[in-house]
Symmetry: C2
Subunit: 192 residues, 2 copies
Amino acid sequence: MELNSGAPTSFSRNQEVFGEGEPAEYFYRLKSGCIRTYSTFRDGRRQVASFYLPGEYFGLEQEKIHFFTAETVIPSLVYVIKRSALTKRSAAGNKITSRLLALTALELRRTQRHVLLLLKNARERVGQFLLELAEREHTQSEIQLPMTRQDIADYLGLTIETVSRVLMRLKKATAISLPSPRRVVLRDRSLF
Amino acid sequence: MELNSGAPTSFSRNQEVFGEGEPAEYFYRLKSGCIRTYSTFRDGRRQVASFYLPGEYFGLEQEKIHFFTAETVIPSLVYVIKRSALTKRSAAGNKITSRLLALTALELRRTQRHVLLLLKNARERVGQFLLELAEREHTQSEIQLPMTRQDIADYLGLTIETVSRVLMRLKKATAISLPSPRRVVLRDRSLF
DNA sequence: CGACGCCTTGATAAATGTCAAACGTCGTGG
DNA sequence: CCACGACGTTTGACATTTATCAAGGCGTCG
Protein backbone atom coordinates (compact mmCIF):
# COMPACT_ATOMS: atom_id res chain seq x y z
CA MET A 1 0.00 0.00 0.00
CA GLU A 2 1.42 3.39 -0.95
CA LEU A 3 0.02 6.53 0.60
CA ASN A 4 0.65 9.03 -2.19
CA SER A 5 -1.86 10.02 -4.78
CA GLY A 6 -2.07 12.79 -7.36
CA ALA A 7 0.71 14.60 -9.19
CA PRO A 8 4.22 15.00 -7.76
CA THR A 9 5.78 18.39 -7.05
CA SER A 10 8.96 19.37 -8.87
CA PHE A 11 12.01 20.70 -7.04
CA SER A 12 15.29 21.99 -8.47
CA ARG A 13 18.75 21.23 -7.03
CA ASN A 14 19.48 22.20 -3.40
CA GLN A 15 15.94 23.41 -2.87
CA GLU A 16 14.35 23.19 0.57
CA VAL A 17 11.33 20.86 0.87
CA PHE A 18 10.71 21.68 4.54
CA GLY A 19 12.67 23.40 7.27
CA GLU A 20 13.63 22.47 10.81
CA GLY A 21 11.07 23.90 13.24
CA GLU A 22 8.35 24.36 10.63
CA PRO A 23 4.90 22.82 11.18
CA ALA A 24 4.84 19.20 9.99
CA GLU A 25 1.60 19.16 8.03
CA TYR A 26 2.68 16.74 5.32
CA PHE A 27 4.41 13.46 4.69
CA TYR A 28 6.55 13.02 1.60
CA ARG A 29 7.43 10.27 -0.83
CA LEU A 30 10.24 10.63 -3.35
CA LYS A 31 9.39 9.79 -6.95
CA SER A 32 12.77 10.63 -8.49
CA GLY A 33 15.98 12.39 -7.50
CA CYS A 34 17.55 12.42 -4.02
CA ILE A 35 16.79 14.11 -0.68
CA ARG A 36 18.97 14.86 2.33
CA THR A 37 17.70 15.69 5.80
CA TYR A 38 19.99 17.49 8.20
CA SER A 39 20.36 19.62 11.26
CA THR A 40 22.78 22.52 11.77
CA PHE A 41 24.63 23.24 15.00
CA ARG A 42 25.19 26.70 16.40
CA ASP A 43 28.81 26.66 15.25
CA GLY A 44 27.78 26.03 11.65
CA ARG A 45 28.61 22.34 11.43
CA ARG A 46 25.97 20.33 9.66
CA GLN A 47 24.89 16.77 10.40
CA VAL A 48 23.19 14.93 7.57
CA ALA A 49 20.66 12.58 9.15
CA SER A 50 19.61 10.63 6.07
CA PHE A 51 19.57 10.38 2.32
CA TYR A 52 16.39 9.27 0.57
CA LEU A 53 16.19 7.56 -2.81
CA PRO A 54 13.24 7.07 -5.21
CA GLY A 55 10.31 5.21 -3.65
CA GLU A 56 11.26 6.12 -0.07
CA TYR A 57 9.21 8.12 2.44
CA PHE A 58 10.57 11.06 4.44
CA GLY A 59 9.32 13.73 6.81
CA LEU A 60 7.33 11.17 8.85
CA GLU A 61 6.78 12.99 12.13
CA GLN A 62 4.35 12.34 14.91
CA GLU A 63 5.23 15.68 16.48
CA LYS A 64 3.84 18.99 15.31
CA ILE A 65 7.08 20.40 13.92
CA HIS A 66 9.92 19.08 11.78
CA PHE A 67 13.08 18.04 13.60
CA PHE A 68 15.27 18.27 10.48
CA THR A 69 15.49 20.32 7.31
CA ALA A 70 14.92 18.45 4.02
CA GLU A 71 16.54 19.53 0.75
CA THR A 72 16.95 18.12 -2.71
CA VAL A 73 20.44 16.91 -3.59
CA ILE A 74 19.59 16.94 -7.32
CA PRO A 75 16.40 17.93 -9.22
CA SER A 76 13.60 15.77 -7.79
CA LEU A 77 9.93 14.89 -7.99
CA VAL A 78 8.14 14.54 -4.66
CA TYR A 79 4.69 13.28 -3.71
CA VAL A 80 3.27 15.49 -0.96
CA ILE A 81 0.70 13.80 1.31
CA LYS A 82 -1.45 15.77 3.73
CA ARG A 83 -1.21 14.33 7.24
CA SER A 84 -4.73 15.39 8.17
CA ALA A 85 -6.06 13.31 5.28
CA LEU A 86 -4.61 10.19 6.92
CA THR A 87 -5.68 10.56 10.52
CA LYS A 88 -9.39 10.09 9.95
CA ARG A 89 -11.04 7.61 12.25
CA SER A 90 -12.35 5.16 9.70
CA ALA A 91 -12.18 1.58 8.58
CA ALA A 92 -9.12 2.54 6.56
CA GLY A 93 -7.64 4.42 9.52
CA ASN A 94 -6.40 1.27 11.19
CA LYS A 95 -4.65 0.11 8.04
CA ILE A 96 -3.02 3.47 7.51
CA THR A 97 -1.82 3.63 11.11
CA SER A 98 -0.30 0.16 10.68
CA ARG A 99 1.45 1.35 7.53
CA LEU A 100 2.80 4.42 9.29
CA LEU A 101 4.01 2.22 12.13
CA ALA A 102 5.87 -0.01 9.69
CA LEU A 103 7.45 2.98 7.94
CA THR A 104 8.46 4.58 11.24
CA ALA A 105 9.96 1.30 12.44
CA LEU A 106 11.98 1.13 9.20
CA GLU A 107 13.24 4.65 9.75
CA LEU A 108 14.16 3.73 13.31
CA ARG A 109 16.10 0.68 12.15
CA ARG A 110 18.02 2.79 9.63
CA THR A 111 18.85 5.36 12.27
CA GLN A 112 20.03 2.60 14.62
CA ARG A 113 22.35 1.34 11.89
CA HIS A 114 23.58 4.91 11.43
CA VAL A 115 24.52 5.04 15.12
CA LEU A 116 26.48 1.81 14.76
CA LEU A 117 28.22 3.22 11.69
CA LEU A 118 29.39 6.33 13.53
CA LEU A 119 31.41 4.20 15.95
CA LYS A 120 33.61 2.72 13.30
CA ASN A 121 36.77 4.04 11.74
CA ALA A 122 36.83 6.12 8.58
CA ARG A 123 37.43 3.22 6.18
CA GLU A 124 34.58 1.15 7.60
CA ARG A 125 32.19 4.10 7.53
CA VAL A 126 32.85 4.88 3.89
CA GLY A 127 32.80 1.21 2.92
CA GLN A 128 29.50 0.50 4.60
CA PHE A 129 28.03 3.68 3.13
CA LEU A 130 28.89 2.49 -0.37
CA LEU A 131 27.50 -0.99 0.25
CA GLU A 132 24.25 0.36 1.63
CA LEU A 133 23.86 2.74 -1.29
CA ALA A 134 24.47 -0.06 -3.77
CA GLU A 135 21.73 -2.09 -2.13
CA ARG A 136 19.26 0.78 -2.08
CA GLU A 137 19.96 1.73 -5.68
CA HIS A 138 19.27 -1.91 -6.65
CA THR A 139 22.53 -2.04 -8.57
CA GLN A 140 25.02 -4.85 -8.58
CA SER A 141 28.28 -3.02 -8.65
CA GLU A 142 28.21 0.49 -10.13
CA ILE A 143 26.90 3.27 -7.90
CA GLN A 144 25.87 6.74 -8.91
CA LEU A 145 26.61 9.24 -6.14
CA PRO A 146 24.04 12.04 -6.36
CA MET A 147 25.65 13.81 -3.39
CA THR A 148 28.93 15.69 -2.96
CA ARG A 149 31.86 14.62 -0.78
CA GLN A 150 30.71 17.27 1.68
CA ASP A 151 27.28 15.61 1.95
CA ILE A 152 28.89 12.22 2.52
CA ALA A 153 31.29 13.67 5.08
CA ASP A 154 28.45 15.32 7.00
CA TYR A 155 26.55 12.02 7.01
CA LEU A 156 29.51 9.97 8.21
CA GLY A 157 30.81 12.45 10.75
CA LEU A 158 34.08 12.95 8.86
CA THR A 159 35.70 15.74 6.87
CA ILE A 160 35.59 15.96 3.11
CA GLU A 161 39.36 15.38 3.02
CA THR A 162 39.11 12.17 5.02
CA VAL A 163 36.32 10.87 2.79
CA SER A 164 38.40 11.64 -0.28
CA ARG A 165 41.51 10.00 1.14
CA VAL A 166 39.62 6.84 2.09
CA LEU A 167 38.13 6.58 -1.39
CA MET A 168 41.57 7.00 -2.94
CA ARG A 169 43.01 4.36 -0.63
CA LEU A 170 40.17 1.94 -1.51
CA LYS A 171 40.90 2.65 -5.16
CA LYS A 172 44.62 1.95 -4.77
CA ALA A 173 43.76 -1.30 -2.97
CA THR A 174 41.52 -2.22 -5.97
CA ALA A 175 38.48 -2.46 -3.68
CA ILE A 176 36.74 0.05 -5.94
CA SER A 177 37.33 1.97 -9.13
CA LEU A 178 36.28 5.55 -9.79
CA PRO A 179 35.44 6.14 -13.48
CA SER A 180 34.52 9.66 -12.33
CA PRO A 181 34.26 11.26 -8.89
CA ARG A 182 30.52 10.55 -8.84
CA ARG A 183 30.61 6.98 -10.10
CA VAL A 184 31.90 4.12 -7.97
CA VAL A 185 32.38 0.54 -9.11
CA LEU A 186 32.55 -2.01 -6.30
CA ARG A 187 35.24 -4.50 -7.21
CA ASP A 188 36.20 -6.41 -4.07
CA ARG A 189 33.94 -6.07 -1.04
CA SER A 190 36.24 -8.20 1.11
CA LEU A 191 38.70 -5.27 1.13
CA PHE A 192 36.24 -2.88 2.80
CA MET B 1 -2.60 4.27 28.21
CA GLU B 2 -0.03 1.77 29.40
CA LEU B 3 0.22 -1.62 27.78
CA ASN B 4 1.53 -3.68 30.68
CA SER B 5 -0.60 -5.71 33.04
CA GLY B 6 0.08 -8.37 35.63
CA ALA B 7 3.13 -8.86 37.81
CA PRO B 8 6.62 -7.72 36.79
CA THR B 9 9.52 -10.15 36.35
CA SER B 10 12.58 -9.71 38.55
CA PHE B 11 16.11 -9.61 37.10
CA SER B 12 19.43 -9.40 38.93
CA ARG B 13 22.39 -7.23 37.88
CA ASN B 14 23.87 -7.70 34.35
CA GLN B 15 21.25 -10.29 33.49
CA GLU B 16 20.12 -10.67 29.89
CA VAL B 17 16.47 -9.84 29.19
CA PHE B 18 16.65 -10.75 25.50
CA GLY B 19 19.45 -11.44 23.04
CA GLU B 20 20.32 -10.10 19.60
CA GLY B 21 18.91 -12.42 16.96
CA GLU B 22 16.36 -14.03 19.25
CA PRO B 23 12.66 -14.09 18.27
CA ALA B 24 10.96 -10.86 19.34
CA GLU B 25 7.79 -12.23 20.92
CA TYR B 26 7.43 -9.64 23.68
CA PHE B 27 7.54 -5.94 24.40
CA TYR B 28 8.94 -4.72 27.71
CA ARG B 29 8.31 -1.91 30.14
CA LEU B 30 10.69 -1.14 32.97
CA LYS B 31 9.17 -0.82 36.43
CA SER B 32 12.38 -0.17 38.35
CA GLY B 33 16.12 -0.40 37.78
CA CYS B 34 17.96 0.32 34.53
CA ILE B 35 18.36 -1.44 31.16
CA ARG B 36 20.99 -1.14 28.44
CA THR B 37 20.57 -2.36 24.87
CA TYR B 38 23.67 -2.98 22.79
CA SER B 39 25.25 -4.69 19.86
CA THR B 40 28.69 -6.30 19.69
CA PHE B 41 31.03 -6.10 16.71
CA ARG B 42 33.12 -8.97 15.48
CA ASP B 43 36.25 -7.43 17.01
CA GLY B 44 34.65 -7.39 20.45
CA ARG B 45 33.83 -3.69 20.65
CA ARG B 46 30.42 -3.01 22.08
CA GLN B 47 28.03 -0.23 21.14
CA VAL B 48 25.41 0.67 23.71
CA ALA B 49 22.33 1.78 21.79
CA SER B 50 20.20 3.04 24.67
CA PHE B 51 19.64 3.16 28.38
CA TYR B 52 16.10 2.80 29.75
CA LEU B 53 14.82 4.19 33.02
CA PRO B 54 11.69 3.32 35.05
CA GLY B 55 8.43 3.81 33.14
CA GLU B 56 10.08 3.47 29.72
CA TYR B 57 9.37 0.84 27.05
CA PHE B 58 12.05 -1.18 25.28
CA GLY B 59 12.31 -4.07 22.84
CA LEU B 60 9.67 -2.55 20.55
CA GLU B 61 10.32 -4.37 17.28
CA GLN B 62 8.18 -4.74 14.21
CA GLU B 63 10.57 -7.34 12.85
CA LYS B 64 10.57 -10.96 13.96
CA ILE B 65 13.93 -10.91 15.73
CA HIS B 66 15.69 -8.56 18.13
CA PHE B 67 18.30 -6.25 16.66
CA PHE B 68 20.00 -5.60 20.01
CA THR B 69 20.71 -7.45 23.24
CA ALA B 70 19.05 -6.07 26.39
CA GLU B 71 20.58 -6.44 29.85
CA THR B 72 19.96 -5.06 33.28
CA VAL B 73 22.49 -2.52 34.54
CA ILE B 74 21.31 -2.99 38.13
CA PRO B 75 18.65 -5.28 39.68
CA SER B 76 15.38 -4.47 37.89
CA LEU B 77 11.68 -5.23 37.65
CA VAL B 78 10.30 -5.59 34.14
CA TYR B 79 6.77 -5.89 32.79
CA VAL B 80 6.73 -8.41 29.95
CA ILE B 81 3.98 -7.92 27.35
CA LYS B 82 3.12 -10.55 24.77
CA ARG B 83 3.13 -9.06 21.27
CA SER B 84 0.54 -11.48 19.98
CA ALA B 85 -1.87 -10.21 22.64
CA LEU B 86 -1.70 -6.74 21.10
CA THR B 87 -2.11 -7.45 17.42
CA LYS B 88 -5.71 -8.61 17.57
CA ARG B 89 -7.99 -6.99 15.04
CA SER B 90 -10.46 -5.39 17.38
CA ALA B 91 -11.95 -2.08 18.39
CA ALA B 92 -9.02 -1.70 20.78
CA GLY B 93 -6.57 -2.71 18.04
CA ASN B 94 -6.62 0.71 16.46
CA LYS B 95 -5.87 2.43 19.73
CA ILE B 96 -3.05 0.04 20.52
CA THR B 97 -1.50 0.50 17.08
CA SER B 98 -1.62 4.27 17.59
CA ARG B 99 0.08 3.86 20.95
CA LEU B 100 2.79 1.67 19.43
CA LEU B 101 3.29 4.25 16.69
CA ALA B 102 3.74 7.00 19.28
CA LEU B 103 6.22 4.90 21.26
CA THR B 104 8.19 3.96 18.13
CA ALA B 105 8.29 7.60 17.04
CA LEU B 106 9.66 8.53 20.48
CA GLU B 107 12.35 5.87 20.16
CA LEU B 108 13.20 7.19 16.69
CA ARG B 109 13.52 10.74 17.99
CA ARG B 110 15.87 9.58 20.78
CA THR B 111 17.98 7.65 18.30
CA GLN B 112 18.16 10.71 16.04
CA ARG B 113 19.42 12.76 18.99
CA HIS B 114 21.97 10.03 19.66
CA VAL B 115 23.28 10.40 16.10
CA LEU B 116 23.65 14.15 16.61
CA LEU B 117 25.46 13.51 19.88
CA LEU B 118 28.04 11.24 18.27
CA LEU B 119 29.24 14.08 16.03
CA LYS B 120 30.32 16.27 18.87
CA ASN B 121 33.56 16.34 20.81
CA ALA B 122 34.11 14.42 24.03
CA ARG B 123 33.14 17.24 26.38
CA GLU B 124 29.88 17.95 24.58
CA ARG B 125 28.97 14.26 24.47
CA VAL B 126 29.46 13.77 28.19
CA GLY B 127 27.76 17.06 29.02
CA GLN B 128 24.69 16.34 26.96
CA PHE B 129 24.53 12.81 28.35
CA LEU B 130 24.39 14.17 31.90
CA LEU B 131 21.75 16.76 31.02
CA GLU B 132 19.55 14.18 29.33
CA LEU B 133 19.87 11.80 32.23
CA ALA B 134 18.94 14.55 34.69
CA GLU B 135 15.81 15.26 32.69
CA ARG B 136 14.80 11.61 32.46
CA GLU B 137 15.43 10.98 36.14
CA HIS B 138 13.15 13.94 36.91
CA THR B 139 15.78 15.40 39.21
CA GLN B 140 16.86 19.00 39.43
CA SER B 141 20.56 18.72 39.90
CA GLU B 142 21.80 15.46 41.46
CA ILE B 143 22.06 12.46 39.16
CA GLN B 144 22.49 8.85 40.15
CA LEU B 145 24.54 6.97 37.55
CA PRO B 146 23.37 3.35 37.55
CA MET B 147 25.91 2.49 34.84
CA THR B 148 29.70 2.18 34.84
CA ARG B 149 32.13 4.43 32.99
CA GLN B 150 32.50 1.60 30.48
CA ASP B 151 28.75 1.67 29.77
CA ILE B 152 28.83 5.44 29.31
CA ALA B 153 31.89 5.19 27.06
CA ASP B 154 30.24 2.53 24.89
CA TYR B 155 27.15 4.71 24.57
CA LEU B 156 29.09 7.87 23.67
CA GLY B 157 31.60 6.22 21.35
CA LEU B 158 34.53 7.10 23.62
CA THR B 159 36.91 5.19 25.85
CA ILE B 160 36.51 4.86 29.57
CA GLU B 161 39.64 6.97 30.09
CA THR B 162 38.28 9.83 28.00
CA VAL B 163 34.96 9.79 29.86
CA SER B 164 36.80 9.88 33.16
CA ARG B 165 39.07 12.72 32.06
CA VAL B 166 36.15 14.80 30.80
CA LEU B 167 34.30 14.34 34.08
CA MET B 168 37.39 15.36 36.04
CA ARG B 169 37.84 18.42 33.84
CA LEU B 170 34.17 19.40 34.31
CA LYS B 171 34.67 19.00 38.04
CA LYS B 172 37.78 21.20 38.05
CA ALA B 173 35.85 23.82 36.07
CA THR B 174 33.11 23.65 38.75
CA ALA B 175 30.53 22.64 36.15
CA ILE B 176 29.76 19.59 38.27
CA SER B 177 30.74 18.01 41.55
CA LEU B 178 31.23 14.31 42.19
CA PRO B 179 30.30 13.33 45.77
CA SER B 180 31.08 9.78 44.62
CA PRO B 181 31.92 8.32 41.20
CA ARG B 182 28.26 7.36 40.70
CA ARG B 183 26.70 10.61 41.89
CA VAL B 184 26.91 13.79 39.84
CA VAL B 185 25.68 17.21 40.91
CA LEU B 186 25.09 19.66 38.08
CA ARG B 187 26.36 23.03 39.23
CA ASP B 188 26.77 25.23 36.16
CA ARG B 189 25.25 24.06 32.90
CA SER B 190 26.67 27.00 30.96
CA LEU B 191 30.10 25.39 31.31
CA PHE B 192 29.09 22.23 29.47
C1' DC C 1 40.54 -5.60 57.21
C1' DG C 2 41.34 -7.25 52.81
C1' DA C 3 40.30 -8.00 48.08
C1' DC C 4 38.09 -7.09 44.04
C1' DG C 5 36.11 -4.14 40.76
C1' DC C 6 35.95 0.29 39.22
C1' DC C 7 37.91 4.65 38.47
C1' DT C 8 41.63 8.02 37.77
C1' DT C 9 46.02 9.59 36.04
C1' DG C 10 50.16 9.82 33.09
C1' DA C 11 53.05 9.01 28.92
C1' DT C 12 52.92 7.99 24.27
C1' DA C 13 50.76 6.62 19.70
C1' DA C 14 47.47 6.75 16.12
C1' DA C 15 43.69 8.60 13.67
C1' DT C 16 41.43 12.35 11.97
C1' DG C 17 41.03 17.42 11.50
C1' DT C 18 42.81 21.85 9.71
C1' DC C 19 44.84 24.79 6.47
C1' DA C 20 46.52 25.58 1.97
C1' DA C 21 47.07 24.79 -2.76
C1' DA C 22 46.74 22.29 -7.09
C1' DC C 23 44.09 19.54 -10.09
C1' DG C 24 39.85 17.68 -12.72
C1' DT C 25 35.44 17.72 -14.46
C1' DC C 26 31.65 19.48 -16.44
C1' DG C 27 28.75 22.87 -18.22
C1' DT C 28 28.70 27.20 -20.87
C1' DG C 29 29.51 30.19 -24.39
C1' DG C 30 32.33 31.64 -28.11
C1' DC D 1 34.28 21.77 -31.33
C1' DC D 2 37.29 24.00 -28.28
C1' DA D 3 38.44 27.22 -24.48
C1' DC D 4 37.22 29.00 -20.17
C1' DG D 5 35.59 29.29 -15.60
C1' DA D 6 33.43 27.66 -11.50
C1' DC D 7 32.78 24.22 -8.52
C1' DG D 8 34.07 20.09 -6.61
C1' DT D 9 37.82 16.95 -5.56
C1' DT D 10 42.39 15.51 -4.45
C1' DT D 11 46.83 15.99 -2.23
C1' DG D 12 50.32 17.47 1.17
C1' DA D 13 52.19 19.31 5.61
C1' DC D 14 51.11 19.92 10.10
C1' DA D 15 47.98 20.30 14.46
C1' DT D 16 44.75 18.40 17.55
C1' DT D 17 41.94 15.14 19.62
C1' DT D 18 41.21 10.84 21.30
C1' DA D 19 42.94 5.99 21.85
C1' DT D 20 46.21 2.91 23.82
C1' DC D 21 49.09 1.07 27.26
C1' DA D 22 50.43 0.97 31.94
C1' DA D 23 50.15 1.83 36.76
C1' DG D 24 48.18 3.46 40.91
C1' DG D 25 44.21 4.82 43.98
C1' DC D 26 39.84 4.42 46.14
C1' DG D 27 35.26 2.49 47.50
C1' DT D 28 32.45 -0.98 48.58
C1' DC D 29 31.26 -5.12 50.46
C1' DG D 30 32.36 -9.54 52.09
